[in-house]
Protein backbone atom coordinates (compact mmCIF):
# COMPACT_ATOMS: atom_id res chain seq x y z
CA UNK A 1 0.00 0.00 0.00
CA UNK A 2 1.02 3.58 -0.47
CA UNK A 3 1.88 6.43 1.82
CA UNK A 4 -0.02 9.70 2.11
CA UNK A 5 1.91 12.85 2.90
CA UNK A 6 0.22 16.17 3.61
CA UNK A 7 1.94 19.11 1.90
CA UNK A 8 2.48 22.38 3.72
CA UNK A 9 2.18 25.47 1.56
CA UNK A 10 0.75 28.99 1.45
CA UNK A 11 -1.57 28.31 -1.52
CA UNK A 12 0.96 29.69 -3.98
CA UNK A 13 4.21 27.98 -2.99
CA UNK A 14 5.27 24.77 -1.32
CA UNK A 15 6.95 25.20 2.08
CA UNK A 16 10.46 23.78 1.91
CA UNK A 17 10.08 21.45 4.89
CA UNK A 18 7.61 19.39 2.86
CA UNK A 19 10.61 18.29 0.78
CA UNK A 20 12.38 17.03 3.90
CA UNK A 21 9.22 15.17 4.90
CA UNK A 22 8.91 13.64 1.41
CA UNK A 23 12.47 12.36 1.65
CA UNK A 24 11.79 10.86 5.09
CA UNK A 25 8.47 9.37 3.96
CA UNK A 26 10.12 7.65 1.00
CA UNK A 27 12.21 5.66 3.50
CA UNK A 28 8.99 4.27 5.03
CA UNK A 29 7.28 3.47 1.74
CA UNK A 30 8.53 4.30 -1.75
CA UNK A 31 5.02 4.90 -3.12
CA UNK A 32 4.65 8.45 -1.82
CA UNK A 33 1.39 10.25 -2.65
CA UNK A 34 1.07 13.89 -1.61
CA UNK A 35 -2.17 15.64 -0.71
CA UNK A 36 -2.23 19.34 -1.56
CA UNK A 37 -5.28 20.82 0.14
CA UNK A 38 -5.85 24.55 -0.14
CA UNK A 39 -7.58 27.25 -2.11
CA UNK A 40 -6.27 28.27 -5.52
CA UNK A 41 -3.28 26.04 -4.90
CA UNK A 42 -2.92 24.47 -8.35
CA UNK A 43 0.62 25.78 -8.69
CA UNK A 44 1.59 24.03 -5.49
CA UNK A 45 0.31 20.75 -6.93
CA UNK A 46 2.45 21.33 -10.02
CA UNK A 47 5.46 22.04 -7.85
CA UNK A 48 4.92 18.81 -5.90
CA UNK A 49 4.38 16.79 -9.07
CA UNK A 50 7.90 17.77 -10.19
CA UNK A 51 9.49 16.18 -7.11
CA UNK A 52 10.91 12.87 -8.40
CA UNK A 53 10.18 10.97 -5.15
CA UNK A 54 6.47 11.75 -5.46
CA UNK A 55 4.42 9.12 -7.33
CA UNK A 56 1.04 10.85 -7.28
CA UNK A 57 -0.42 14.22 -6.26
CA UNK A 58 -3.92 14.57 -4.84
CA UNK A 59 -5.27 18.09 -5.24
CA UNK A 60 -8.19 19.30 -3.18
CA UNK A 61 -8.89 22.88 -4.16
CA UNK A 62 -11.61 24.40 -2.02
CA UNK A 63 -12.12 27.58 0.06
CA UNK A 64 -12.63 25.20 3.01
CA UNK A 65 -8.89 24.59 3.17
CA UNK A 66 -7.57 28.05 2.50
CA UNK A 67 -6.25 28.60 6.02
CA UNK A 68 -5.64 24.96 7.00
CA UNK A 69 -8.07 25.11 9.91
CA UNK A 70 -7.57 21.70 11.50
CA UNK A 71 -11.32 21.28 12.08
CA UNK A 72 -11.73 21.36 8.27
CA UNK A 73 -8.49 19.77 7.15
CA UNK A 74 -8.51 16.72 9.45
CA UNK A 75 -11.80 15.24 8.13
CA UNK A 76 -10.48 15.53 4.56
CA UNK A 77 -7.20 13.82 5.45
CA UNK A 78 -9.09 11.15 7.40
CA UNK A 79 -11.28 10.42 4.37
CA UNK A 80 -8.39 10.31 1.91
CA UNK A 81 -6.39 8.18 4.40
CA UNK A 82 -8.84 5.28 3.98
CA UNK A 83 -6.72 3.96 1.13
CA UNK A 84 -3.36 4.39 2.84
CA UNK A 85 -1.30 2.59 5.46
CA UNK A 86 0.86 5.55 6.44
CA UNK A 87 -0.13 9.18 6.90
CA UNK A 88 2.80 11.57 7.25
CA UNK A 89 3.34 15.29 7.88
CA UNK A 90 6.06 17.59 9.16
CA UNK A 91 6.42 17.94 12.93
CA UNK A 92 6.08 21.71 12.92
CA UNK A 93 3.17 23.89 13.96
CA UNK A 94 1.38 22.88 10.73
CA UNK A 95 1.58 19.11 11.19
CA UNK A 96 1.28 19.17 14.98
CA UNK A 97 -2.00 21.05 14.70
CA UNK A 98 -4.03 18.67 12.54
CA UNK A 99 -2.30 15.26 12.58
CA UNK A 100 -3.41 14.18 16.09
CA UNK A 101 -7.01 14.88 15.00
CA UNK A 102 -6.54 12.49 12.09
CA UNK A 103 -4.91 9.89 14.35
CA UNK A 104 -7.78 10.12 16.85
CA UNK A 105 -10.38 9.81 14.10
CA UNK A 106 -8.61 6.70 12.81
CA UNK A 107 -8.04 5.34 16.35
CA UNK A 108 -4.28 5.35 15.78
CA UNK A 109 -1.53 6.18 18.26
CA UNK A 110 0.56 8.83 16.52
CA UNK A 111 4.36 8.64 16.38
CA UNK A 112 5.50 12.25 16.81
CA UNK A 113 8.66 14.03 15.75
CA UNK A 114 10.56 11.14 14.15
CA UNK A 115 14.27 11.82 13.64
CA UNK A 116 15.29 8.46 12.17
CA UNK A 117 13.52 5.69 10.30
CA UNK A 118 14.83 2.23 11.17
CA UNK A 119 12.21 0.30 9.19
CA UNK A 120 8.63 0.67 7.99
CA UNK A 121 7.34 0.36 11.57
CA UNK A 122 10.30 1.26 13.79
CA UNK A 123 11.42 4.80 14.41
CA UNK A 124 13.68 6.89 16.61
CA UNK A 125 12.28 9.99 18.28
CA UNK A 126 13.65 12.37 20.90
CA UNK A 127 12.03 12.53 24.33
CA UNK A 128 12.81 14.73 27.35
CA UNK A 129 13.87 17.67 25.16
CA UNK A 130 16.27 15.48 23.22
CA UNK A 131 18.09 14.31 26.36
CA UNK A 132 17.08 10.77 25.43
CA UNK A 133 16.18 9.01 22.21
CA UNK A 134 13.48 6.35 22.15
CA UNK A 135 13.35 3.58 19.58
CA UNK A 136 9.66 2.80 19.13
CA UNK A 137 7.72 0.25 17.12
CA UNK A 138 4.20 1.14 16.05
CA UNK A 139 1.79 -1.78 16.19
CA UNK A 140 -1.08 0.10 14.57
CA UNK A 141 -1.97 -1.20 11.13
CA UNK A 142 -2.45 2.33 9.89
CA UNK A 143 0.21 4.73 11.10
CA UNK A 144 0.18 8.47 11.66
CA UNK A 145 3.69 9.88 11.74
CA UNK A 146 5.15 13.35 12.02
CA UNK A 147 8.71 13.92 10.85
CA UNK A 148 11.23 16.34 12.31
CA UNK A 149 12.18 18.10 9.06
CA UNK A 150 15.68 19.18 10.08
CA UNK A 151 16.69 15.55 10.68
CA UNK A 152 16.30 14.72 6.98
CA UNK A 153 17.73 16.24 3.82
CA UNK A 154 15.24 17.81 1.43
CA UNK A 155 14.17 15.69 -1.55
CA UNK A 156 15.35 16.97 -4.96
CA UNK A 157 12.78 19.41 -6.36
CA UNK A 158 12.75 18.78 -10.07
CA UNK A 159 12.82 16.05 -12.67
CA UNK A 160 9.62 14.22 -11.78
CA UNK A 161 6.23 14.33 -13.44
CA UNK A 162 3.72 12.72 -11.13
CA UNK A 163 0.09 12.56 -12.12
CA UNK A 164 -2.22 15.10 -10.43
CA UNK A 165 -5.61 13.73 -9.40
CA UNK A 166 -8.44 15.90 -8.08
CA UNK A 167 -10.07 15.05 -4.77
CA UNK A 168 -13.50 16.22 -3.63
CA UNK A 169 -13.78 18.40 -0.53
CA UNK A 170 -15.67 16.94 2.43
CA UNK A 171 -18.23 18.53 4.75
CA UNK A 172 -16.81 20.99 7.29
CA UNK A 173 -18.09 21.47 10.85
CA UNK A 174 -18.24 25.30 10.68
CA UNK A 175 -17.06 25.65 14.26
CA UNK A 176 -13.90 27.66 13.70
CA UNK A 177 -12.97 30.78 11.79
CA UNK A 178 -9.65 32.14 10.61
CA UNK A 179 -9.17 35.81 11.43
CA UNK A 180 -5.61 36.77 10.60
CA UNK A 181 -2.02 35.69 10.41
CA UNK A 182 0.79 38.06 11.35
CA UNK A 183 3.91 36.76 9.71
CA UNK A 184 7.26 38.24 10.54
CA UNK A 185 8.68 39.28 7.20
CA UNK A 186 12.42 39.22 6.86
CA UNK A 187 15.00 39.44 4.13
CA UNK A 188 17.17 37.03 6.08
CA UNK A 189 17.16 33.27 5.56
CA UNK A 190 14.53 31.21 7.38
CA UNK A 191 15.54 30.08 10.83
CA UNK A 192 14.75 26.43 10.17
CA UNK A 193 16.90 26.13 7.06
CA UNK A 194 19.62 28.76 7.45
CA UNK A 195 23.26 27.71 7.12
CA UNK A 196 24.23 30.08 9.92
CA UNK A 197 22.15 31.07 12.95
CA UNK A 198 23.03 33.72 15.50
CA UNK A 199 20.87 33.78 18.62
CA UNK A 200 20.55 36.14 21.54
CA UNK A 201 19.39 35.43 25.07
CA UNK A 202 18.54 37.21 28.25
CA UNK A 203 22.04 38.70 28.24
CA UNK A 204 21.01 40.98 25.36
CA UNK A 205 19.12 43.05 27.96
CA UNK A 206 16.80 44.82 25.48
CA UNK A 207 15.08 44.61 22.12
CA UNK A 208 17.22 47.48 20.91
CA UNK A 209 20.43 45.60 21.65
CA UNK A 210 19.38 42.89 19.19
CA UNK A 211 20.69 45.32 16.57
CA UNK A 212 24.14 44.03 17.51
CA UNK A 213 22.95 40.54 16.52
CA UNK A 214 21.16 41.53 13.33
CA UNK A 215 24.18 43.48 12.06
CA UNK A 216 26.25 40.29 12.27
CA UNK A 217 23.40 38.21 10.84
CA UNK A 218 23.34 40.46 7.78
CA UNK A 219 27.09 40.14 7.38
CA UNK A 220 26.99 36.32 7.61
CA UNK A 221 23.69 35.89 5.76
CA UNK A 222 22.46 34.26 8.96
CA UNK A 223 19.03 33.78 10.50
CA UNK A 224 18.35 35.33 13.88
CA UNK A 225 17.33 33.08 16.77
CA UNK A 226 16.58 33.63 20.43
CA UNK A 227 16.21 31.81 23.70
CA UNK A 228 12.83 31.59 25.37
CA UNK A 229 14.00 34.10 27.97
CA UNK A 230 14.62 36.70 25.26
CA UNK A 231 11.20 36.10 23.66
CA UNK A 232 9.42 36.15 27.03
CA UNK A 233 11.14 39.44 27.86
CA UNK A 234 9.76 40.90 24.62
CA UNK A 235 13.16 41.48 22.99
CA UNK A 236 12.09 39.60 19.84
CA UNK A 237 9.02 37.85 18.42
CA UNK A 238 8.07 34.23 19.16
CA UNK A 239 8.90 32.90 15.68
CA UNK A 240 12.61 33.32 16.55
CA UNK A 241 12.54 30.96 19.53
CA UNK A 242 14.92 28.01 19.40
CA UNK A 243 14.37 25.13 21.80
CA UNK A 244 12.18 22.31 23.06
CA UNK A 245 8.96 24.22 22.48
CA UNK A 246 10.31 26.50 19.79
CA UNK A 247 12.15 25.58 16.61
CA UNK A 248 14.83 22.99 16.12
CA UNK A 249 17.74 24.18 14.02
CA UNK A 250 20.71 22.29 12.62
CA UNK A 251 22.90 24.92 10.94
CA UNK A 252 26.57 24.58 10.01
CA UNK A 253 27.30 27.38 12.47
CA UNK A 254 25.28 28.35 15.54
CA UNK A 255 26.37 31.38 17.54
CA UNK A 256 24.80 31.68 20.99
CA UNK A 257 25.18 35.13 22.50
CA UNK A 258 24.22 35.86 26.09
CA UNK A 259 22.50 32.49 26.35
CA UNK A 260 23.32 30.44 29.43
CA UNK A 261 22.26 27.13 27.86
CA UNK A 262 19.22 25.72 29.67
CA UNK A 263 18.44 22.15 28.55
CA UNK A 264 15.27 23.43 26.89
CA UNK A 265 17.35 25.70 24.63
CA UNK A 266 20.00 23.08 23.93
CA UNK A 267 17.20 20.79 22.71
CA UNK A 268 16.75 23.09 19.76
CA UNK A 269 20.34 23.61 18.64
CA UNK A 270 22.77 21.02 19.97
CA UNK A 271 22.87 19.08 16.69
CA UNK A 272 24.42 22.12 14.97
CA UNK A 273 27.73 21.36 13.27
CA UNK A 274 29.78 24.10 14.92
CA UNK A 275 28.61 25.88 18.06
CA UNK A 276 30.05 29.18 19.27
CA UNK A 277 29.16 30.58 22.69
CA UNK A 278 29.77 34.15 23.75
CA UNK A 279 28.95 34.71 27.40
CA UNK A 280 30.46 36.68 30.26
CA UNK A 281 29.78 33.85 32.72
CA UNK A 282 32.58 31.33 32.23
CA UNK A 283 30.58 28.70 34.11
CA UNK A 284 27.52 28.94 31.81
CA UNK A 285 26.41 25.44 30.68
CA UNK A 286 26.45 26.54 27.03
CA UNK A 287 30.27 26.33 27.13
CA UNK A 288 30.12 22.58 27.78
CA UNK A 289 28.71 21.96 24.30
CA UNK A 290 30.39 24.80 22.42
CA UNK A 291 33.20 24.09 19.97
CA UNK A 292 34.50 27.61 20.49
CA UNK A 293 33.74 29.50 23.66
CA UNK A 294 34.51 33.15 24.24
CA UNK A 295 34.18 34.39 27.78
CA UNK A 296 33.51 38.06 27.23
CA UNK A 297 31.10 40.93 27.64
CA UNK A 298 28.88 40.63 24.58
CA UNK A 299 28.49 44.40 24.30
CA UNK A 300 32.22 44.60 23.60
CA UNK A 301 32.56 41.31 21.76
CA UNK A 302 29.77 41.78 19.19
CA UNK A 303 31.03 45.08 17.72
CA UNK A 304 34.53 43.56 17.62
CA UNK A 305 33.15 40.46 15.92
CA UNK A 306 31.54 42.61 13.23
CA UNK A 307 34.77 44.57 12.78
CA UNK A 308 36.76 41.34 12.38
CA UNK A 309 34.25 40.02 9.84
CA UNK A 310 34.56 43.26 7.90
CA UNK A 311 38.30 42.64 7.63
CA UNK A 312 37.78 39.30 5.86
CA UNK A 313 38.14 39.29 2.09
CA UNK A 314 35.47 36.66 1.57
CA UNK A 315 32.61 35.30 3.62
CA UNK A 316 30.72 32.13 2.71
CA UNK A 317 27.10 32.77 1.89
Amino acid sequence: MSLLLIAEHDNSKLKVFTLNAINAASKIDGDVHVLVAGSGCENVAKEVAAVPLVKKVLLCDSPNYKNYLPENLAPLVTKVAEKYDNIVASANTFGKNFMPRVAAALDVSQVSDVTKINSADTFIRPIYAGNAFATVKSNDKKKCITIRPTSFDPAPKTGGSAQVEKVEAVAVPNNSKFIKREETKSERPELGTARVVISGGRGMESADNFKLITAIADKLNAAVGASRAAVDAGYISNDHQVGQTGKVVVPDLYIAVGISGAIQHLAGMKESKIIVAINKDGEAPIFSIADYGLEADLFKALPEFLAELNKLNTIQK
Binding site: P100, R101, N131, F133, K180, V196, D239, T245, K247
Partner: protein, 249 residues
Protein backbone atom coordinates in the same frame (compact mmCIF):
# COMPACT_ATOMS: atom_id res chain seq x y z
CA UNK B 1 -19.41 28.43 32.28
CA UNK B 2 -17.21 25.60 33.37
CA UNK B 3 -13.62 24.69 32.52
CA UNK B 4 -11.95 21.32 32.86
CA UNK B 5 -8.15 21.62 33.15
CA UNK B 6 -5.90 18.63 32.59
CA UNK B 7 -2.58 18.44 34.43
CA UNK B 8 0.21 15.89 34.15
CA UNK B 9 2.94 14.95 36.61
CA UNK B 10 6.36 14.92 34.96
CA UNK B 11 10.04 15.06 35.91
CA UNK B 12 10.74 18.66 36.94
CA UNK B 13 11.93 20.80 34.06
CA UNK B 14 15.16 21.69 35.89
CA UNK B 15 16.25 18.09 36.36
CA UNK B 16 18.92 16.69 34.05
CA UNK B 17 17.37 13.31 33.27
CA UNK B 18 19.42 10.10 33.39
CA UNK B 19 18.84 7.19 31.04
CA UNK B 20 18.75 3.74 32.66
CA UNK B 21 21.69 1.52 31.83
CA UNK B 22 19.43 -1.27 30.56
CA UNK B 23 17.76 1.05 28.06
CA UNK B 24 14.30 0.55 29.56
CA UNK B 25 13.65 4.23 30.23
CA UNK B 26 14.86 7.07 32.43
CA UNK B 27 15.46 7.11 36.18
CA UNK B 28 12.50 8.45 38.13
CA UNK B 29 13.32 7.21 41.66
CA UNK B 30 14.19 10.08 44.00
CA UNK B 31 13.85 12.52 41.12
CA UNK B 32 11.96 15.77 41.66
CA UNK B 33 8.56 15.68 39.97
CA UNK B 34 6.31 18.67 39.17
CA UNK B 35 3.34 19.70 37.11
CA UNK B 36 4.14 19.85 33.38
CA UNK B 37 5.02 23.57 32.90
CA UNK B 38 2.43 24.58 30.26
CA UNK B 39 -0.24 22.79 32.33
CA UNK B 40 0.44 25.42 35.01
CA UNK B 41 -0.39 28.05 32.38
CA UNK B 42 -3.61 26.19 31.60
CA UNK B 43 -4.62 26.23 35.28
CA UNK B 44 -3.69 29.90 35.63
CA UNK B 45 -5.78 30.92 32.61
CA UNK B 46 -8.79 28.98 33.86
CA UNK B 47 -8.50 30.55 37.31
CA UNK B 48 -8.16 34.04 35.79
CA UNK B 49 -11.33 33.49 33.77
CA UNK B 50 -13.08 32.42 36.95
CA UNK B 51 -11.87 35.55 38.73
CA UNK B 52 -13.19 37.67 35.86
CA UNK B 53 -16.66 36.28 36.59
CA UNK B 54 -17.15 34.70 33.18
CA UNK B 55 -16.50 31.20 34.47
CA UNK B 56 -18.28 29.66 37.44
CA UNK B 57 -16.29 26.51 38.06
CA UNK B 58 -12.81 25.15 37.37
CA UNK B 59 -12.25 21.40 37.67
CA UNK B 60 -8.70 20.04 37.58
CA UNK B 61 -8.06 16.50 36.38
CA UNK B 62 -5.01 14.29 36.29
CA UNK B 63 -4.49 10.74 35.08
CA UNK B 64 -1.75 8.67 36.65
CA UNK B 65 -0.31 6.96 39.68
CA UNK B 66 -1.19 7.80 43.30
CA UNK B 67 1.28 10.68 43.53
CA UNK B 68 -0.10 12.36 40.40
CA UNK B 69 -2.75 13.68 42.78
CA UNK B 70 -0.17 16.28 43.90
CA UNK B 71 -0.63 18.09 40.59
CA UNK B 72 -4.38 18.36 41.20
CA UNK B 73 -3.73 19.56 44.75
CA UNK B 74 -1.47 22.26 43.35
CA UNK B 75 -4.21 23.35 40.92
CA UNK B 76 -6.69 23.47 43.81
CA UNK B 77 -4.24 25.59 45.80
CA UNK B 78 -4.11 28.25 43.08
CA UNK B 79 -7.85 28.43 42.61
CA UNK B 80 -9.42 25.36 40.98
CA UNK B 81 -12.65 24.40 42.77
CA UNK B 82 -12.44 20.63 42.79
CA UNK B 83 -10.41 17.80 41.38
CA UNK B 84 -10.62 14.45 39.64
CA UNK B 85 -7.90 11.82 39.84
CA UNK B 86 -8.15 9.01 37.33
CA UNK B 87 -5.85 6.34 38.68
CA UNK B 88 -3.58 4.50 36.30
CA UNK B 89 -0.45 2.62 37.31
CA UNK B 90 1.46 2.63 34.06
CA UNK B 91 2.13 4.91 31.12
CA UNK B 92 -0.84 5.57 28.85
CA UNK B 93 -0.30 6.99 25.37
CA UNK B 94 -1.95 10.32 24.42
CA UNK B 95 -4.62 8.39 22.45
CA UNK B 96 -5.68 6.54 25.62
CA UNK B 97 -5.47 9.70 27.74
CA UNK B 98 -7.71 11.52 25.25
CA UNK B 99 -10.26 8.67 25.44
CA UNK B 100 -10.32 8.89 29.24
CA UNK B 101 -10.69 12.68 29.10
CA UNK B 102 -13.55 12.29 26.62
CA UNK B 103 -15.39 10.06 29.11
CA UNK B 104 -14.94 12.66 31.83
CA UNK B 105 -16.02 15.49 29.50
CA UNK B 106 -19.23 13.60 28.70
CA UNK B 107 -19.95 13.38 32.43
CA UNK B 108 -18.82 16.86 33.49
CA UNK B 109 -20.04 18.74 30.39
CA UNK B 110 -17.54 21.63 30.55
CA UNK B 111 -17.68 24.49 28.05
CA UNK B 112 -13.91 24.38 27.62
CA UNK B 113 -11.04 22.00 28.26
CA UNK B 114 -7.63 23.59 28.88
CA UNK B 115 -4.42 21.58 28.57
CA UNK B 116 -0.70 22.29 28.21
CA UNK B 117 0.40 22.34 24.59
CA UNK B 118 2.92 19.56 25.13
CA UNK B 119 4.23 17.38 27.96
CA UNK B 120 7.95 17.82 28.52
CA UNK B 121 8.54 14.11 29.15
CA UNK B 122 7.28 12.29 26.06
CA UNK B 123 7.13 15.50 23.95
CA UNK B 124 4.20 14.07 21.96
CA UNK B 125 2.05 17.19 21.52
CA UNK B 126 -1.11 15.20 20.77
CA UNK B 127 -3.59 14.92 23.65
CA UNK B 128 -5.53 18.18 23.23
CA UNK B 129 -5.93 17.79 19.49
CA UNK B 130 -6.98 14.14 19.85
CA UNK B 131 -9.58 15.02 22.47
CA UNK B 132 -10.88 17.80 20.21
CA UNK B 133 -11.29 15.35 17.33
CA UNK B 134 -13.01 12.73 19.50
CA UNK B 135 -15.52 15.34 20.73
CA UNK B 136 -15.74 17.01 17.33
CA UNK B 137 -14.88 20.31 19.02
CA UNK B 138 -12.71 23.09 17.58
CA UNK B 139 -9.28 23.73 19.03
CA UNK B 140 -6.82 26.48 19.71
CA UNK B 141 -3.32 25.03 19.96
CA UNK B 142 -0.11 26.82 21.05
CA UNK B 143 -2.34 29.50 22.55
CA UNK B 144 -0.71 32.68 23.82
CA UNK B 145 -3.86 34.80 24.23
CA UNK B 146 -7.48 33.97 25.06
CA UNK B 147 -10.47 36.27 24.73
CA UNK B 148 -13.60 34.52 25.98
CA UNK B 149 -16.88 35.72 24.50
CA UNK B 150 -20.44 34.48 25.11
CA UNK B 151 -20.44 31.64 22.60
CA UNK B 152 -16.94 31.60 21.27
CA UNK B 153 -13.30 32.37 22.01
CA UNK B 154 -10.82 34.45 20.12
CA UNK B 155 -7.45 32.75 20.31
CA UNK B 156 -3.98 33.98 19.36
CA UNK B 157 -1.72 31.06 18.46
CA UNK B 158 2.04 30.96 18.20
CA UNK B 159 2.92 29.42 14.85
CA UNK B 160 6.25 28.95 13.08
CA UNK B 161 5.66 32.02 10.90
CA UNK B 162 4.55 34.32 13.72
CA UNK B 163 1.07 34.70 15.20
CA UNK B 164 -2.34 33.51 14.05
CA UNK B 165 -5.72 34.68 15.31
CA UNK B 166 -8.74 32.40 15.10
CA UNK B 167 -12.23 32.33 16.54
CA UNK B 168 -13.57 29.01 17.77
CA UNK B 169 -17.09 28.20 18.90
CA UNK B 170 -17.76 26.81 22.35
CA UNK B 171 -17.40 24.13 23.52
CA UNK B 172 -13.71 24.13 22.64
CA UNK B 173 -10.27 22.81 23.46
CA UNK B 174 -7.38 25.14 24.27
CA UNK B 175 -3.77 23.96 24.48
CA UNK B 176 -1.69 26.54 26.29
CA UNK B 177 1.69 27.97 25.48
CA UNK B 178 4.15 29.10 28.15
CA UNK B 179 3.63 32.72 27.13
CA UNK B 180 -0.12 32.69 27.81
CA UNK B 181 0.35 34.04 31.33
CA UNK B 182 2.53 33.99 34.42
CA UNK B 183 1.39 31.15 36.70
CA UNK B 184 0.98 32.30 40.31
CA UNK B 185 2.42 30.63 43.36
CA UNK B 186 0.08 29.15 45.91
CA UNK B 187 0.04 30.94 49.26
CA UNK B 188 0.33 28.87 52.41
CA UNK B 189 -3.26 29.57 53.54
CA UNK B 190 -4.51 28.52 50.09
CA UNK B 191 -2.43 25.34 50.21
CA UNK B 192 -4.10 24.55 53.54
CA UNK B 193 -7.55 25.34 52.14
CA UNK B 194 -6.88 23.18 49.08
CA UNK B 195 -6.49 20.16 51.35
CA UNK B 196 -10.19 20.41 52.10
CA UNK B 197 -11.30 20.65 48.49
CA UNK B 198 -12.68 17.37 47.12
CA UNK B 199 -10.79 15.14 44.67
CA UNK B 200 -13.02 12.53 43.09
CA UNK B 201 -11.23 9.24 42.50
CA UNK B 202 -11.79 7.23 39.32
CA UNK B 203 -10.00 4.21 37.89
CA UNK B 204 -8.79 4.31 34.29
CA UNK B 205 -9.47 0.66 33.50
CA UNK B 206 -13.05 0.90 34.84
CA UNK B 207 -14.06 3.63 32.39
CA UNK B 208 -14.85 1.24 29.57
CA UNK B 209 -12.41 2.66 27.03
CA UNK B 210 -9.62 0.87 25.20
CA UNK B 211 -6.40 2.31 26.58
CA UNK B 212 -4.05 -0.40 25.35
CA UNK B 213 -0.79 1.11 24.20
CA UNK B 214 -0.11 0.67 20.49
CA UNK B 215 3.48 1.81 20.46
CA UNK B 216 6.13 -0.47 21.84
CA UNK B 217 9.14 1.22 23.36
CA UNK B 218 12.08 -0.90 22.28
CA UNK B 219 14.84 1.06 23.95
CA UNK B 220 15.81 4.42 25.33
CA UNK B 221 19.32 5.70 24.77
CA UNK B 222 21.37 8.73 25.62
CA UNK B 223 22.07 11.02 22.71
CA UNK B 224 25.66 10.99 21.47
CA UNK B 225 27.70 13.20 23.77
CA UNK B 226 28.95 16.36 22.23
CA UNK B 227 32.62 16.86 22.89
CA UNK B 228 33.41 20.09 24.65
CA UNK B 229 35.53 22.40 22.55
CA UNK B 230 38.05 25.04 23.41
CA UNK B 231 37.92 28.51 24.87
CA UNK B 232 39.33 31.22 22.70
CA UNK B 233 40.94 34.29 24.22
CA UNK B 234 39.82 36.97 21.78
CA UNK B 235 37.32 37.79 19.09
CA UNK B 236 40.13 37.86 16.52
CA UNK B 237 41.10 34.31 17.46
CA UNK B 238 37.45 33.21 17.26
CA UNK B 239 37.01 34.62 13.75
CA UNK B 240 40.29 33.10 12.64
CA UNK B 241 39.27 29.65 13.98
CA UNK B 242 35.87 29.87 12.27
CA UNK B 243 37.48 30.87 9.00
CA UNK B 244 40.54 28.64 8.91
CA UNK B 245 39.88 25.68 11.22
CA UNK B 246 36.12 25.07 11.14
CA UNK B 247 35.80 26.67 7.69
CA UNK B 248 32.23 27.79 8.30
CA UNK B 249 32.46 31.48 7.44
Amino acid sequence: MKILVAVKRVIDYNVQIRVKEDGSGVHTDNVKMSTNPPDDNAVEEAVKLKESGKVKEVVAITIGEEKAQETVRKALAVGADRGIHVKADSYIEPLGIAKILKKVVEKEKPDMVFLGKQAIDDDCNQTGQMLAAMLNWPQGTFTSKVNLKDKSMEIVREIDEGLETIEINLPAIVTCDLRLNEPRYASLPNIMKAKKKPIEPMVAKDLGVDITNRIQQIKVEEPPKRKGGIKVSSVAELVSKLKNEAKVI
